[in-house]
């Protein structure tokens, strides 16, 4: 079984722990981190907006180096936590597109919810995970980054005669 475990900064520990628990021991595991290039683009664009200024090269490392260094450190820690051999992949770009493309040759994709987990519903998936789940070319193991919610979080059915809730606009 070829398994892709997509980790993000905030929830990687839970994702790796669940992957270790659920994936068979002979699974061929790839740990994937995708660095979004958006922040770098915004920073670069703001610099170019300073018309006429040719900033001299500074001692500080380029944003891309900072981002790549952080990704490598995260993947190394994740592999230690996984406790078994895995391929490490650090990629860059539009996160949701890169993840879906990387999942193409896989049998299963493991990812965590990235949305608002205090209000359970469609928004417990953020736009990125929503896209990945919708377009994943393999089956998906969607994990809770913290504790799975209890059954009591399901709202009770409306009392007879109560006004029907309006459908919420999304």
């Amino acid at each position: 079984m070829r398994a892709l475990v997509w980790i993000i900064e905030d929830t990687w520990e839970a994702t790796v722990a669940e992957a270790a628990a659920f994936l068979p021991s002979d699974a061929d595991v790839t740990l994937l981190h995708v660095a979004s290039t958006e922040a770098e683009t915004v920073a670069g664009a703001a610099r170019r907006g300073l018309l006429g200024r040719h900033q001299p090269p500074r001692a500080a490392p380029a944003l891309r180096e900072i981002s790549e260094q952080a990704a490598h450190e995260l993947l190394a820690e994740a592999q230690t936590r996984l406790g078994r051999p895995a391929r490490l992949e650090a990629r860059r770009g539009r996160v949701e597109h890169v993840v879906v493309a990387a999942a193409a040759p896989m049998d299963i994709l493991v990812l965590a919810r990235d949305g608002d987990r205090e209000r359970l519903g469609p928004r417990s998936l953020g736009p990125t995970a929503r896209f990945v789940v919708d377009h994943a070319p393999c089956c998906v193991l969607l994990i809770w980054p913290d504790v799975a919610p209890a059954l009591t979080t399901i709202p009770p059915p409306p009392a007879p005669g109560a006004p029907q809730p309006r459908p919420s606009a999304l």
């Binding site: 900064e9 905030d10 929830t11 979004s36 290039t37 958006e38 922040a39 770098e40 683009t41 915004v42 920073a43 670069g44 664009a45 703001a46 610099r47 170019r48 907006g49 300073l50 018309l51 006429g52 200024r53 040719h54 900033q55 001299p56 500074r58 500080a60 490392p61 944003l63 900072i66 981002s67 260094q69 952080a70 995260l74 770009g93 539009r94 990235d114 949305g115 608002d116 205090e118 928004r123 953020g126 736009p127 913290d146």
Partner: protein, 417 residues
Amino acid sequence: MTNGLALALALVVLAATLGVAVARPPYLSEALAAVAGAVLLVTVGAIGLSEAADALRALGPTVGFLAAMLLIADGCRREGLFDAMGAVMARGSQGSPQRLLAFVFVIAAAITAVLSLDATIVLLTPVVFATAAQMRTSAKPHVYACAHLANSASLLLPVSNLTNLLAFHASKLSFLRFAALMVLPTLAAVGVEWVVFRRFFAVDLRRPRRAGTRPARPKLPRFAVAVLALTLAGFALSSVLGIQPVWFATAGAAAMTIPSLYRRAATPGQLARAAEPGFLIFVLGLGVIVQAASGNGLDTAVRAALPTGGSLPALLAIAALSAIFANLVNNLPATLMLVPVAAAAGPGPGPVLATLIGVNVGPNLTYVGSLATLLWRRVLHAEETDVELGEFLRLGALTVPAGLVAATVILWLALKA
């Protein structure tokens, strides 16, 4: 040469100069383009030699002021002020993205106000990016905050933005009076950004964090902070002492650079580059080119478009028109064109300050400062990555109109007080 022909030629030269500044061809610097354009306009008689000399003489102190402030900001970088700010943010935010955003807002607004928007964009943004990476949280809201606050917090002091420096003399305000009139509009503009950012990036900011190891206590560079504080105190006292603020900036730049030269922490070449001579020449050239356009009828057109007087509707219209203008061209030429007209549209400094609100807050509409820049870069395929433009523009559309109105209304109230 007729006025119409001279105006057309000046506008073509202006467009070409801005085009070079946007496209940055390797064989032609924007400073050279601006100088060549200015020389061409003088040669063909679109602007008289004495008129061009007057424009340069008027801009000279401003450009000197700018050079001094660039040297002070570079000195602060050398002394480690920006790294210390990174440590303050990392330690103070205790792993929470929301707290990090609050720290970024306060620090980016303060750096912009004191050391100008260039310092925030060039020197602070990489530090913020590295801090977010180190905290393992999405850098996007925080980098956006730097980009936006570099514009919207740049209303506060005459030194916060080159546009303010260009308008400072025309506003006939003392340094302290300028700051007193602009402090509440600045807070209003920053407040609008805060409210919008908290909602816009709610998902990025809500992710719970576990407390990690506490980052080290930041070491503030005392020397740089002391020089900055004394320079600001000099600015504040300038009108009482009867000394122009530019001299305090010069003294601050000398205090920041001479010891570094002595300690060999910086070479004369590095310091010369830090003052960005190319940029200074570009501003001077642009000043002559815009003067050629203004003197041949552009000022009449601007005067016809710009409302006069200090009423609230007039100030709102001035701010809105300035914002649109800054987005169509860029806020530098927009300021050069608008401020002389706004200064005569008085009574009082209201129209000039409303113009500044427009040209400073307005560029957040299009993230690279102007629509022309944005479109050009798209045309030239200069973006390395495919990023959705929608998000940039949505954030601008949410913050800019509200920020303009809030800041202008409060300016109007401050002027009446």
